[in-house]
Protein backbone atom coordinates (compact mmCIF):
# COMPACT_ATOMS: atom_id res chain seq x y z
CA UNK A 1 0.00 0.00 0.00
CA UNK A 2 2.73 2.37 1.03
CA UNK A 3 4.56 1.61 -2.19
CA UNK A 4 1.56 2.69 -4.19
CA UNK A 5 1.33 5.95 -2.28
CA UNK A 6 5.02 6.62 -2.75
CA UNK A 7 4.68 5.78 -6.42
CA UNK A 8 1.65 8.06 -6.68
CA UNK A 9 3.51 10.99 -5.19
CA UNK A 10 6.47 10.40 -7.51
CA UNK A 11 4.17 10.08 -10.50
CA UNK A 12 2.52 13.41 -9.71
CA UNK A 13 5.93 15.10 -9.17
CA UNK A 14 7.22 13.61 -12.43
CA UNK A 15 4.22 14.82 -14.39
CA UNK A 16 4.58 18.27 -12.86
CA UNK A 17 8.31 18.27 -13.70
CA UNK A 18 7.61 17.56 -17.36
CA UNK A 19 4.94 20.24 -17.32
CA UNK A 20 1.81 18.11 -17.11
CA UNK A 21 -0.37 18.67 -14.12
CA UNK A 22 -2.43 15.88 -12.64
CA UNK A 23 -5.37 18.19 -12.03
CA UNK A 24 -6.40 21.73 -12.98
CA UNK A 25 -9.00 23.97 -11.37
CA UNK A 26 -11.24 25.96 -13.71
CA UNK A 27 -13.72 28.39 -12.21
CA UNK A 28 -16.51 30.26 -14.00
CA UNK A 29 -16.93 33.82 -12.77
CA UNK A 30 -19.73 35.16 -15.00
CA UNK A 31 -22.69 33.31 -16.47
CA UNK A 32 -23.84 36.28 -18.54
CA UNK A 33 -23.05 39.97 -19.11
CA UNK A 34 -24.34 41.56 -15.94
CA UNK A 35 -23.75 38.67 -13.55
CA UNK A 36 -22.59 39.13 -9.94
CA UNK A 37 -19.62 41.51 -10.03
CA UNK A 38 -17.83 40.06 -7.03
CA UNK A 39 -17.97 36.44 -8.26
CA UNK A 40 -14.73 36.43 -10.28
CA UNK A 41 -12.96 38.32 -7.48
CA UNK A 42 -14.02 35.67 -4.96
CA UNK A 43 -12.94 32.90 -7.31
CA UNK A 44 -9.37 34.19 -7.55
CA UNK A 45 -9.08 35.17 -3.87
CA UNK A 46 -10.97 32.64 -1.78
CA UNK A 47 -9.15 29.46 -2.74
CA UNK A 48 -6.92 27.75 -5.27
CA UNK A 49 -7.61 28.33 -8.97
CA UNK A 50 -5.70 27.83 -12.22
CA UNK A 51 -8.09 29.22 -14.81
CA UNK A 52 -10.87 31.79 -14.61
CA UNK A 53 -13.36 31.58 -17.45
CA UNK A 54 -16.17 34.07 -18.01
CA UNK A 55 -19.09 33.87 -20.41
CA UNK A 56 -20.52 37.25 -21.37
CA UNK A 57 -22.42 36.42 -24.54
CA UNK A 58 -26.05 35.41 -24.65
CA UNK A 59 -27.61 34.84 -28.06
CA UNK A 60 -28.37 38.48 -28.79
CA UNK A 61 -25.54 40.16 -26.88
CA UNK A 62 -23.39 40.34 -30.01
CA UNK A 63 -25.89 42.47 -31.89
CA UNK A 64 -25.99 44.97 -29.00
CA UNK A 65 -22.19 45.09 -28.97
CA UNK A 66 -22.09 45.38 -32.74
CA UNK A 67 -24.33 48.43 -32.53
CA UNK A 68 -22.05 49.98 -29.89
CA UNK A 69 -19.05 49.40 -32.15
CA UNK A 70 -20.77 51.10 -35.07
CA UNK A 71 -21.29 54.16 -32.88
CA UNK A 72 -17.74 54.11 -31.49
CA UNK A 73 -14.97 51.92 -32.97
CA UNK A 74 -13.36 51.66 -29.52
CA UNK A 75 -16.46 50.00 -28.06
CA UNK A 76 -18.38 46.79 -28.69
CA UNK A 77 -17.03 44.53 -25.95
CA UNK A 78 -18.07 43.77 -22.35
CA UNK A 79 -16.98 47.03 -20.75
CA UNK A 80 -17.32 45.63 -17.22
CA UNK A 81 -14.42 43.36 -18.02
CA UNK A 82 -11.86 46.18 -17.86
CA UNK A 83 -12.47 47.40 -14.27
CA UNK A 84 -12.83 43.77 -13.22
CA UNK A 85 -9.43 42.84 -14.67
CA UNK A 86 -8.01 45.97 -13.08
CA UNK A 87 -9.18 44.68 -9.69
CA UNK A 88 -7.90 41.12 -10.06
CA UNK A 89 -4.73 41.78 -12.05
CA UNK A 90 -2.40 41.61 -9.00
CA UNK A 91 -4.02 38.31 -7.94
CA UNK A 92 -3.83 36.62 -11.32
CA UNK A 93 -0.27 37.79 -11.93
CA UNK A 94 1.08 36.77 -8.53
CA UNK A 95 -0.64 33.38 -8.62
CA UNK A 96 -0.37 32.76 -12.35
CA UNK A 97 -4.10 32.36 -12.88
CA UNK A 98 -5.08 32.49 -16.53
CA UNK A 99 -8.21 34.29 -17.67
CA UNK A 100 -10.25 33.15 -20.67
CA UNK A 101 -13.35 35.05 -21.73
CA UNK A 102 -15.58 35.77 -24.71
CA UNK A 103 -16.06 39.30 -23.31
CA UNK A 104 -14.16 40.63 -26.35
CA UNK A 105 -17.60 40.46 -27.95
CA UNK A 106 -17.86 42.31 -31.24
CA UNK A 107 -14.50 44.03 -30.76
CA UNK A 108 -11.86 41.81 -29.11
CA UNK A 109 -9.00 44.00 -30.39
CA UNK A 110 -10.39 47.14 -28.70
CA UNK A 111 -10.91 45.08 -25.56
CA UNK A 112 -7.27 43.96 -25.73
CA UNK A 113 -6.09 47.55 -26.13
CA UNK A 114 -8.07 48.60 -23.05
CA UNK A 115 -6.65 45.70 -21.01
CA UNK A 116 -3.10 46.42 -22.23
CA UNK A 117 -3.45 50.01 -21.20
CA UNK A 118 -4.62 49.13 -17.70
CA UNK A 119 -1.75 46.63 -17.32
CA UNK A 120 0.59 49.41 -18.37
CA UNK A 121 -0.84 51.77 -15.75
CA UNK A 122 -0.49 49.03 -13.13
CA UNK A 123 3.14 48.60 -14.15
CA UNK A 124 2.75 44.93 -15.07
CA UNK A 125 5.50 43.88 -17.49
CA UNK A 126 5.66 40.71 -19.55
CA UNK A 127 1.93 40.05 -19.42
CA UNK A 128 0.80 38.22 -22.55
CA UNK A 129 -2.65 39.10 -23.80
CA UNK A 130 -4.21 37.17 -26.67
CA UNK A 131 -7.13 37.93 -28.92
CA UNK A 132 -9.02 35.43 -31.02
CA UNK A 133 -10.50 36.88 -34.20
CA UNK A 134 -12.28 35.46 -37.21
CA UNK A 135 -15.71 34.69 -35.74
CA UNK A 136 -17.23 37.80 -37.33
CA UNK A 137 -18.49 36.74 -40.77
CA UNK A 138 -20.84 39.69 -41.38
CA UNK A 139 -18.47 41.33 -43.92
CA UNK A 140 -18.30 37.99 -45.72
CA UNK A 141 -22.00 37.15 -46.03
CA UNK A 142 -22.22 38.02 -49.75
CA UNK A 143 -19.08 36.04 -50.49
CA UNK A 144 -20.47 33.04 -48.59
CA UNK A 145 -23.81 33.23 -50.40
CA UNK A 146 -21.98 33.48 -53.73
CA UNK A 147 -20.10 30.31 -52.86
CA UNK A 148 -23.32 28.42 -52.24
CA UNK A 149 -23.47 28.65 -48.43
CA UNK A 150 -27.23 29.13 -48.08
CA UNK A 151 -27.34 30.51 -44.49
CA UNK A 152 -30.99 29.43 -44.25
CA UNK A 153 -32.57 29.63 -40.81
CA UNK A 154 -31.71 26.29 -39.19
CA UNK A 155 -34.78 26.48 -36.93
CA UNK A 156 -37.43 27.40 -39.48
CA UNK A 157 -35.83 26.55 -42.83
CA UNK A 158 -36.60 30.05 -44.17
CA UNK A 159 -34.35 31.56 -46.82
CA UNK A 160 -32.07 34.42 -45.81
CA UNK A 161 -33.19 36.48 -48.82
CA UNK A 162 -35.97 38.20 -46.88
CA UNK A 163 -33.68 39.53 -44.16
CA UNK A 164 -30.31 39.83 -45.92
CA UNK A 165 -30.45 43.63 -46.06
CA UNK A 166 -31.37 43.93 -42.39
CA UNK A 167 -28.57 41.80 -40.88
CA UNK A 168 -26.92 43.47 -37.89
CA UNK A 169 -24.44 40.77 -36.88
CA UNK A 170 -23.21 37.35 -37.98
CA UNK A 171 -20.77 35.44 -35.81
CA UNK A 172 -19.61 31.86 -36.10
CA UNK A 173 -19.28 29.92 -32.87
CA UNK A 174 -15.57 29.09 -32.65
CA UNK A 175 -14.28 26.15 -30.66
CA UNK A 176 -11.44 25.66 -28.21
CA UNK A 177 -8.69 25.46 -30.84
CA UNK A 178 -7.66 29.12 -31.12
CA UNK A 179 -7.67 29.53 -27.31
CA UNK A 180 -5.44 26.45 -26.97
CA UNK A 181 -3.06 28.07 -29.45
CA UNK A 182 -3.06 31.30 -27.42
CA UNK A 183 -2.36 29.43 -24.17
CA UNK A 184 0.50 27.53 -25.83
CA UNK A 185 1.99 30.88 -26.81
CA UNK A 186 2.01 31.78 -23.14
CA UNK A 187 -1.06 34.03 -23.01
CA UNK A 188 -2.28 34.81 -19.51
CA UNK A 189 -5.41 36.61 -20.68
CA UNK A 190 -7.33 35.33 -23.70
CA UNK A 191 -10.06 37.56 -25.14
CA UNK A 192 -12.38 36.13 -27.76
CA UNK A 193 -15.48 37.15 -29.61
CA UNK A 194 -18.13 34.51 -30.22
CA UNK A 195 -16.79 31.23 -28.89
CA UNK A 196 -19.03 28.38 -27.79
CA UNK A 197 -19.57 28.83 -24.05
CA UNK A 198 -18.39 25.37 -23.02
CA UNK A 199 -15.32 25.59 -25.28
CA UNK A 200 -13.91 28.39 -23.11
CA UNK A 201 -13.42 25.82 -20.34
CA UNK A 202 -12.41 22.96 -22.65
CA UNK A 203 -9.44 24.93 -24.02
CA UNK A 204 -7.23 24.82 -20.89
CA UNK A 205 -7.85 21.06 -20.54
CA UNK A 206 -6.57 20.47 -24.07
CA UNK A 207 -3.62 22.80 -23.50
CA UNK A 208 -2.65 21.22 -20.17
CA UNK A 209 -3.34 17.56 -20.84
CA UNK A 210 -2.49 17.43 -24.53
CA UNK A 211 -5.76 15.78 -25.53
CA UNK A 212 -5.71 14.97 -29.22
CA UNK A 213 -8.22 16.67 -31.54
CA UNK A 214 -9.97 13.36 -32.19
CA UNK A 215 -10.06 12.09 -28.60
CA UNK A 216 -13.84 12.53 -28.72
CA UNK A 217 -14.58 11.04 -25.31
CA UNK A 218 -12.20 13.35 -23.46
CA UNK A 219 -13.24 16.38 -25.48
CA UNK A 220 -16.86 15.55 -24.69
CA UNK A 221 -15.98 15.18 -21.00
CA UNK A 222 -14.46 18.64 -21.13
CA UNK A 223 -17.53 20.04 -22.87
CA UNK A 224 -19.80 18.53 -20.21
CA UNK A 225 -17.69 20.14 -17.46
CA UNK A 226 -17.77 23.40 -19.43
CA UNK A 227 -21.55 23.19 -19.81
CA UNK A 228 -21.93 22.69 -16.05
CA UNK A 229 -19.72 25.75 -15.46
CA UNK A 230 -20.96 28.09 -18.18
CA UNK A 231 -23.97 29.59 -16.41
CA UNK A 232 -22.09 30.43 -13.24
CA UNK A 233 -24.02 29.83 -10.03
CA UNK A 234 -26.80 27.92 -11.80
CA UNK A 235 -24.80 24.79 -10.89
CA UNK A 236 -24.06 25.84 -7.30
CA UNK A 237 -27.59 26.34 -6.01
CA UNK A 238 -28.76 29.48 -7.82
CA UNK A 239 -32.10 29.31 -9.66
CA UNK A 240 -32.57 25.81 -8.22
CA UNK A 241 -36.11 24.40 -8.19
CA UNK A 242 -35.17 21.19 -6.35
CA UNK A 243 -35.34 22.50 -2.81
CA UNK A 244 -34.44 26.15 -3.10
CA UNK A 245 -35.19 26.97 0.52
CA UNK A 246 -32.53 24.49 1.67
CA UNK A 247 -29.70 26.16 -0.27
CA UNK A 248 -27.50 27.84 2.36
CA UNK A 249 -26.32 31.45 2.24
CA UNK A 250 -27.34 32.45 -1.29
CA UNK A 251 -26.17 35.97 -0.42
CA UNK A 252 -22.57 34.75 -0.52
CA UNK A 253 -23.03 32.07 -3.18
CA UNK A 254 -19.82 30.52 -4.47
CA UNK A 255 -19.39 30.16 -8.24
CA UNK A 256 -18.57 26.75 -9.71
CA UNK A 257 -15.12 25.23 -10.06
CA UNK A 258 -14.31 22.09 -12.04
CA UNK A 259 -11.30 20.12 -10.85
CA UNK A 260 -10.42 18.35 -14.06
CA UNK A 261 -8.17 15.30 -14.35
CA UNK A 262 -6.22 14.18 -17.43
CA UNK A 263 -8.64 11.31 -18.09
CA UNK A 264 -11.52 13.79 -18.40
CA UNK A 265 -13.08 13.01 -15.04
CA UNK A 266 -13.95 16.15 -13.13
CA UNK A 267 -15.22 17.18 -9.73
CA UNK A 268 -17.64 20.11 -9.59
CA UNK A 269 -17.20 22.13 -6.42
CA UNK A 270 -16.86 25.69 -5.07
CA UNK A 271 -14.50 27.44 -2.68
CA UNK A 272 -14.81 26.49 1.01
CA UNK A 273 -16.67 29.02 3.10
CA UNK A 274 -18.81 30.31 0.25
CA UNK A 275 -22.60 29.97 0.15
CA UNK A 276 -24.69 27.85 -2.18
CA UNK A 277 -24.79 24.11 -2.74
CA UNK A 278 -23.22 21.63 -5.10
CA UNK A 279 -25.18 18.38 -5.20
CA UNK A 280 -26.21 15.88 -7.87
CA UNK A 281 -29.54 17.72 -8.05
CA UNK A 282 -28.02 21.18 -8.63
CA UNK A 283 -25.65 19.77 -11.25
CA UNK A 284 -28.48 17.88 -12.99
CA UNK A 285 -30.53 21.08 -13.35
CA UNK A 286 -27.62 22.73 -15.13
CA UNK A 287 -26.98 19.64 -17.29
CA UNK A 288 -30.48 19.86 -18.77
CA UNK A 289 -30.33 23.64 -19.23
CA UNK A 290 -30.69 24.86 -22.80
CA UNK A 291 -30.16 21.51 -24.49
CA UNK A 292 -31.92 19.76 -27.34
CA UNK A 293 -31.22 16.09 -28.02
CA UNK A 294 -29.06 15.13 -25.02
CA UNK A 295 -27.35 12.35 -26.98
CA UNK A 296 -26.14 14.88 -29.54
CA UNK A 297 -25.02 18.05 -27.77
CA UNK A 298 -23.25 19.64 -30.71
CA UNK A 299 -20.30 21.95 -30.19
CA UNK A 300 -17.51 23.12 -32.51
CA UNK A 301 -15.13 20.67 -30.78
CA UNK A 302 -17.15 17.44 -30.63
CA UNK A 303 -20.62 16.05 -30.13
CA UNK A 304 -21.14 15.17 -26.47
CA UNK A 305 -23.54 12.46 -25.32
CA UNK A 306 -25.17 13.70 -22.13
CA UNK A 307 -26.91 10.33 -21.67
CA UNK A 308 -23.52 8.82 -20.72
CA UNK A 309 -22.74 11.27 -17.91
CA UNK A 310 -22.40 9.68 -14.47
CA UNK A 311 -22.75 11.85 -11.38
CA UNK A 312 -21.70 10.90 -7.85
CA UNK A 313 -21.61 12.92 -4.66
CA UNK A 314 -18.16 12.26 -3.20
CA UNK A 315 -18.21 14.80 -0.37
CA UNK A 316 -19.89 17.98 0.79
CA UNK A 317 -20.27 20.29 -2.23
CA UNK A 318 -18.34 17.84 -4.38
CA UNK A 319 -19.89 16.04 -7.36
CA UNK A 320 -17.81 13.78 -9.55
CA UNK A 321 -18.63 13.78 -13.28
CA UNK A 322 -17.39 10.76 -15.23
CA UNK A 323 -18.18 8.29 -17.98
CA UNK A 324 -18.77 10.85 -20.72
CA UNK A 325 -18.68 9.58 -24.28
CA UNK A 326 -18.33 11.74 -27.34
CA UNK A 327 -18.69 11.60 -31.09
CA UNK A 328 -16.80 13.37 -33.89
CA UNK A 329 -17.38 17.06 -34.48
CA UNK A 330 -19.52 17.89 -37.50
CA UNK A 331 -18.29 19.61 -40.65
CA UNK A 332 -20.29 22.72 -39.78
CA UNK A 333 -20.18 25.59 -37.33
CA UNK A 334 -23.24 27.37 -36.07
CA UNK A 335 -23.51 31.02 -37.06
CA UNK A 336 -25.49 33.28 -34.81
CA UNK A 337 -26.95 36.09 -36.87
CA UNK A 338 -29.28 38.88 -35.94
CA UNK A 339 -31.33 41.30 -37.98
CA UNK A 340 -33.41 44.40 -37.47
CA UNK A 341 -37.10 43.56 -37.32
CA UNK A 342 -39.01 46.74 -36.55
CA UNK A 343 -39.79 48.29 -33.18
CA UNK A 344 -41.44 47.31 -29.95
CA UNK A 345 -42.52 48.90 -26.70
CA UNK A 346 -44.04 47.73 -23.45
CA UNK A 347 -46.26 49.78 -21.15
CA UNK A 348 -47.41 48.90 -17.63
CA UNK A 349 -50.02 50.16 -15.17
CA UNK A 350 -50.87 48.82 -11.71
CA UNK A 351 -54.51 48.26 -10.65
CA UNK A 352 -55.61 47.81 -7.04
CA UNK A 353 -58.38 45.87 -5.29
CA UNK A 354 -61.36 45.83 -5.56
CA UNK A 355 -61.75 43.97 -8.86
CA UNK A 356 -58.13 44.61 -9.81
CA UNK A 357 -58.11 42.06 -12.63
CA UNK A 358 -61.45 43.21 -14.05
CA UNK A 359 -60.20 46.80 -14.11
CA UNK A 360 -56.96 45.86 -15.80
CA UNK A 361 -58.87 43.86 -18.41
CA UNK A 362 -61.19 46.78 -19.06
CA UNK A 363 -58.22 49.12 -19.45
CA UNK A 364 -56.72 46.74 -22.00
CA UNK A 365 -59.98 46.72 -23.94
CA UNK A 366 -60.12 50.52 -23.94
CA UNK A 367 -56.48 50.82 -25.00
CA UNK A 368 -56.96 48.40 -27.89
CA UNK A 369 -60.04 50.30 -29.07
CA UNK A 370 -58.07 53.56 -29.08
CA UNK A 371 -55.17 51.98 -31.01
CA UNK A 372 -57.70 50.69 -33.51
CA UNK A 373 -59.40 54.09 -33.85
CA UNK A 374 -56.02 55.68 -34.48
CA UNK A 375 -55.44 53.24 -37.32
CA UNK A 376 -52.09 52.11 -35.90
CA UNK A 377 -50.64 48.97 -37.40
CA UNK A 378 -48.85 46.35 -35.31
CA UNK A 379 -47.63 42.87 -36.06
CA UNK A 380 -48.51 41.85 -32.54
CA UNK A 381 -50.20 43.26 -29.46
CA UNK A 382 -49.72 41.16 -26.35
CA UNK A 383 -51.41 41.68 -23.01
CA UNK A 384 -50.30 40.01 -19.79
CA UNK A 385 -51.41 40.55 -16.22
CA UNK A 386 -48.36 40.36 -13.96
CA UNK A 387 -49.30 38.67 -10.71
CA UNK A 388 -51.87 36.61 -12.56
CA UNK A 389 -50.91 35.08 -15.91
CA UNK A 390 -47.54 36.26 -17.28
CA UNK A 391 -45.93 32.88 -16.53
CA UNK A 392 -48.98 30.66 -16.95
CA UNK A 393 -50.74 32.29 -19.89
CA UNK A 394 -53.93 30.37 -20.70
CA UNK A 395 -53.01 27.87 -17.95
CA UNK A 396 -53.51 30.50 -15.24
CA UNK A 397 -56.18 29.54 -12.73
CA UNK A 398 -58.88 32.12 -12.04
CA UNK A 399 -57.99 33.33 -8.57
CA UNK A 400 -60.18 35.07 -6.09
CA UNK A 401 -59.75 38.71 -5.43
CA UNK A 402 -56.20 39.74 -6.27
CA UNK A 403 -54.78 42.50 -4.08
CA UNK A 404 -53.36 44.13 -7.17
CA UNK A 405 -52.32 43.32 -10.69
CA UNK A 406 -49.99 44.90 -13.23
CA UNK A 407 -51.38 45.38 -16.73
CA UNK A 408 -48.54 44.86 -19.18
CA UNK A 409 -49.18 45.57 -22.85
CA UNK A 410 -46.51 45.11 -25.50
CA UNK A 411 -46.65 45.98 -29.19
CA UNK A 412 -44.38 45.20 -32.10
CA UNK A 413 -44.61 46.96 -35.45
CA UNK A 414 -42.67 47.89 -38.55
CA UNK A 415 -43.21 51.64 -38.22
CA UNK A 416 -41.51 53.50 -35.42
CA UNK A 417 -44.18 56.21 -35.37
CA UNK A 418 -46.95 53.67 -34.69
CA UNK A 419 -45.00 52.22 -31.76
CA UNK A 420 -44.19 55.71 -30.52
CA UNK A 421 -47.87 56.66 -30.57
CA UNK A 422 -48.70 53.53 -28.56
CA UNK A 423 -46.23 54.76 -25.91
CA UNK A 424 -48.30 57.95 -25.59
CA UNK A 425 -51.56 56.06 -25.07
CA UNK A 426 -50.60 54.39 -21.74
CA UNK A 427 -50.56 57.28 -19.25
CA UNK A 428 -53.92 58.76 -20.37
CA UNK A 429 -55.62 55.56 -19.16
CA UNK A 430 -54.98 56.79 -15.61
CA UNK A 431 -57.56 59.59 -15.90
CA UNK A 432 -59.70 58.15 -18.68
CA UNK A 433 -60.17 54.53 -17.66
CA UNK A 434 -60.99 52.30 -14.69
CA UNK A 435 -60.12 53.62 -11.20
CA UNK A 436 -57.48 52.86 -8.52
CA UNK A 437 -54.58 52.81 -10.90
CA UNK A 438 -50.95 53.78 -10.39
CA UNK A 439 -47.44 52.80 -11.42
CA UNK A 440 -47.09 55.09 -14.43
CA UNK A 441 -44.81 57.51 -12.62
CA UNK A 442 -42.02 59.32 -14.34
CA UNK A 443 -41.32 57.66 -17.60
CA UNK A 444 -43.20 56.96 -20.77
CA UNK A 445 -42.20 53.71 -22.49
CA UNK A 446 -39.83 54.18 -25.44
CA UNK A 447 -39.77 52.36 -28.77
CA UNK A 448 -36.91 49.85 -28.87
CA UNK A 449 -35.28 48.31 -31.91
CA UNK A 450 -36.33 44.71 -32.32
CA UNK A 451 -33.33 42.54 -33.00
CA UNK A 452 -34.39 39.11 -34.17
CA UNK A 453 -32.27 36.00 -34.14
CA UNK A 454 -31.26 33.98 -37.19
CA UNK A 455 -29.27 30.80 -36.51
CA UNK A 456 -27.61 29.13 -39.50
CA UNK A 457 -24.86 26.68 -40.38
CA UNK A 458 -21.61 27.40 -42.18
CA UNK A 459 -19.00 24.90 -43.37
CA UNK A 460 -16.16 24.75 -40.85
CA UNK A 461 -13.57 25.26 -43.58
CA UNK A 462 -15.14 28.61 -44.49
CA UNK A 463 -14.10 30.09 -41.14
CA UNK A 464 -10.48 30.98 -40.42
CA UNK A 465 -9.85 31.91 -36.77
CA UNK A 466 -6.79 34.06 -36.05
CA UNK A 467 -4.80 34.29 -32.83
CA UNK A 468 -2.66 37.25 -31.95
CA UNK A 469 -0.59 37.49 -28.76
CA UNK A 470 0.95 40.71 -27.46
CA UNK A 471 3.21 41.25 -24.48
CA UNK A 472 3.15 44.28 -22.20
Amino acid sequence: MLDFEVFGVFAVRFLEMIGERSMIRIGCGQGFWGDLLRAPIDLVRKGPLDYLVMDFLAELTMSIMHKQRLRDPMLGYAKDLVPLLDTILPDIVSRNIKVITNGGGANPAACRDAVRSLAGKAGVRGLRIAVVLGDDVLPRVDELLAHGVALDNMETGESIAGIRERLTSANAYLGAGPIVEALRQGAQIVLTGRTADASLALAPMIAEFGWSPDDWDRLAAGIVAGHILECGAQSTGGNFTGDWKAVPDLARIGFPIAEVHPDGTSVITKHPGTGGLVSCATVKEQLVYEIGDPAGYTTPDCVADFTTVRLREIGPDRVEVSGVRGKPATAFLKVSMSYHDGYSAVGTLTYSWPEALAKARKADEILRARLEDLGLRFQEIRTEYLGYDSCFGPLARETCDLNEVVLRVGVRGRERRDVDRFCREIAPLVLTGPPSVTGYAGTRPKPEDVIAFWPALIPRIAVAPEVSVEET
Binding site: E59, L60, E155, Q234, N239, F240, T241, G242, D243, C280, A281, K284, E285, Q286, L287, V288, Y289, E290, I291, G292, D293, P294, A295, F306, T307, T308, V309, R310, L311, G323, S338, D341, S344, V346, E380, R382, E384, L386, S390, C391, F392, G393, P394, L395, R408, G410, V411, R412, E448, D449, V450, I451, A452, F453, P455
Partner: protein, 114 residues
Amino acid sequence: MRFTAGANMKIRLLDIAHGRSGDKGNTANIGIIAREEKHYRLLVKYLTAERVQAYFEGICFGGVERFELPNIGALNFVLHDALGGGGTRSLRNDSQGKTLASVLLRMELDVPDF
Protein backbone atom coordinates in the same frame (compact mmCIF):
# COMPACT_ATOMS: atom_id res chain seq x y z
CA MET B 1 -50.14 13.55 -3.43
CA ARG B 2 -53.74 12.64 -2.85
CA PHE B 3 -56.04 9.71 -3.58
CA THR B 4 -59.14 10.18 -5.67
CA ALA B 5 -62.05 7.81 -6.20
CA GLY B 6 -61.06 4.33 -7.33
CA ALA B 7 -57.49 3.18 -7.54
CA ASN B 8 -56.32 6.25 -9.44
CA MET B 9 -54.02 8.68 -7.81
CA LYS B 10 -53.27 12.24 -8.76
CA ILE B 11 -49.65 13.18 -8.45
CA ARG B 12 -48.51 16.74 -8.81
CA LEU B 13 -45.31 16.77 -10.84
CA LEU B 14 -43.62 19.17 -8.42
CA ASP B 15 -43.85 16.52 -5.68
CA ILE B 16 -41.86 13.95 -7.65
CA ALA B 17 -39.67 16.12 -9.86
CA HIS B 18 -37.77 19.36 -10.23
CA GLY B 19 -36.53 21.09 -13.37
CA ARG B 20 -35.15 24.01 -15.30
CA SER B 21 -36.15 25.69 -18.54
CA GLY B 22 -34.53 28.04 -21.02
CA ASP B 23 -34.42 29.19 -24.61
CA LYS B 24 -32.75 28.76 -27.96
CA GLY B 25 -34.27 31.38 -30.20
CA ASN B 26 -38.01 30.75 -30.39
CA THR B 27 -37.62 27.23 -28.99
CA ALA B 28 -37.88 26.48 -25.28
CA ASN B 29 -36.56 23.43 -23.50
CA ILE B 30 -37.71 22.05 -20.17
CA GLY B 31 -35.61 19.53 -18.28
CA ILE B 32 -37.66 17.55 -15.76
CA ILE B 33 -35.66 15.60 -13.18
CA ALA B 34 -37.06 12.83 -10.97
CA ARG B 35 -36.52 13.40 -7.27
CA GLU B 36 -36.11 9.63 -6.75
CA GLU B 37 -35.31 6.74 -9.06
CA LYS B 38 -38.80 5.20 -8.81
CA HIS B 39 -40.26 8.52 -9.91
CA TYR B 40 -38.29 8.42 -13.15
CA ARG B 41 -40.21 5.32 -14.27
CA LEU B 42 -43.47 7.19 -13.68
CA LEU B 43 -42.25 10.16 -15.67
CA VAL B 44 -41.21 7.97 -18.58
CA LYS B 45 -44.57 6.25 -18.61
CA TYR B 46 -46.96 9.12 -18.01
CA LEU B 47 -45.24 12.37 -18.90
CA THR B 48 -45.34 11.80 -22.64
CA ALA B 49 -44.61 14.35 -25.36
CA GLU B 50 -48.33 14.24 -26.31
CA ARG B 51 -49.39 14.97 -22.74
CA VAL B 52 -46.98 17.92 -22.50
CA GLN B 53 -48.05 19.26 -25.90
CA ALA B 54 -51.71 19.17 -24.88
CA TYR B 55 -50.88 20.86 -21.55
CA PHE B 56 -49.10 23.76 -23.24
CA GLU B 57 -51.90 24.50 -25.71
CA GLY B 58 -51.99 28.26 -26.19
CA ILE B 59 -48.33 28.64 -25.17
CA CYS B 60 -46.49 26.23 -27.46
CA PHE B 61 -47.56 26.52 -31.10
CA GLY B 62 -45.09 24.06 -32.63
CA GLY B 63 -44.44 20.44 -31.79
CA VAL B 64 -43.06 18.98 -28.57
CA GLU B 65 -40.17 16.50 -28.64
CA ARG B 66 -39.17 14.36 -25.66
CA PHE B 67 -35.70 12.96 -24.93
CA GLU B 68 -34.75 10.54 -22.15
CA LEU B 69 -31.73 10.81 -19.86
CA PRO B 70 -32.03 7.62 -17.77
CA ASN B 71 -28.51 8.15 -16.42
CA ILE B 72 -29.65 11.16 -14.39
CA GLY B 73 -33.34 10.28 -14.18
CA ALA B 74 -34.44 13.15 -16.36
CA LEU B 75 -36.57 13.92 -19.40
CA ASN B 76 -35.90 16.82 -21.74
CA PHE B 77 -38.79 18.44 -23.57
CA VAL B 78 -38.16 20.67 -26.56
CA LEU B 79 -41.06 23.04 -27.29
CA HIS B 80 -41.00 24.60 -30.74
CA ASP B 81 -42.51 28.04 -31.37
CA ALA B 82 -43.16 28.62 -27.69
CA LEU B 83 -41.58 32.01 -26.94
CA GLY B 84 -43.52 34.51 -29.04
CA GLY B 85 -40.69 34.87 -31.55
CA GLY B 86 -37.80 34.62 -29.09
CA GLY B 87 -35.08 37.12 -28.30
CA THR B 88 -36.05 40.79 -28.31
CA ARG B 89 -38.87 40.08 -30.75
CA SER B 90 -40.85 38.34 -28.04
CA LEU B 91 -43.32 40.53 -26.16
CA ARG B 92 -43.59 37.98 -23.36
CA ASN B 93 -42.56 39.09 -19.88
CA ASP B 94 -40.84 35.71 -19.76
CA SER B 95 -39.31 36.00 -23.22
CA GLN B 96 -36.77 33.26 -22.50
CA GLY B 97 -39.14 30.69 -21.03
CA LYS B 98 -37.37 30.70 -17.67
CA THR B 99 -40.57 29.91 -15.78
CA LEU B 100 -41.92 27.21 -18.10
CA ALA B 101 -40.40 24.45 -15.92
CA SER B 102 -42.43 25.67 -12.97
CA VAL B 103 -45.54 25.92 -15.14
CA LEU B 104 -45.08 22.27 -16.13
CA LEU B 105 -44.35 21.18 -12.55
CA ARG B 106 -47.89 22.23 -11.59
CA MET B 107 -49.29 19.54 -13.89
CA GLU B 108 -51.12 16.66 -12.22
CA LEU B 109 -50.57 13.15 -13.51
CA ASP B 110 -53.25 10.48 -13.26
CA VAL B 111 -51.37 7.46 -12.09
CA PRO B 112 -53.35 4.23 -11.77
CA ASP B 113 -50.69 1.83 -10.51
CA PHE B 114 -48.39 3.74 -8.21
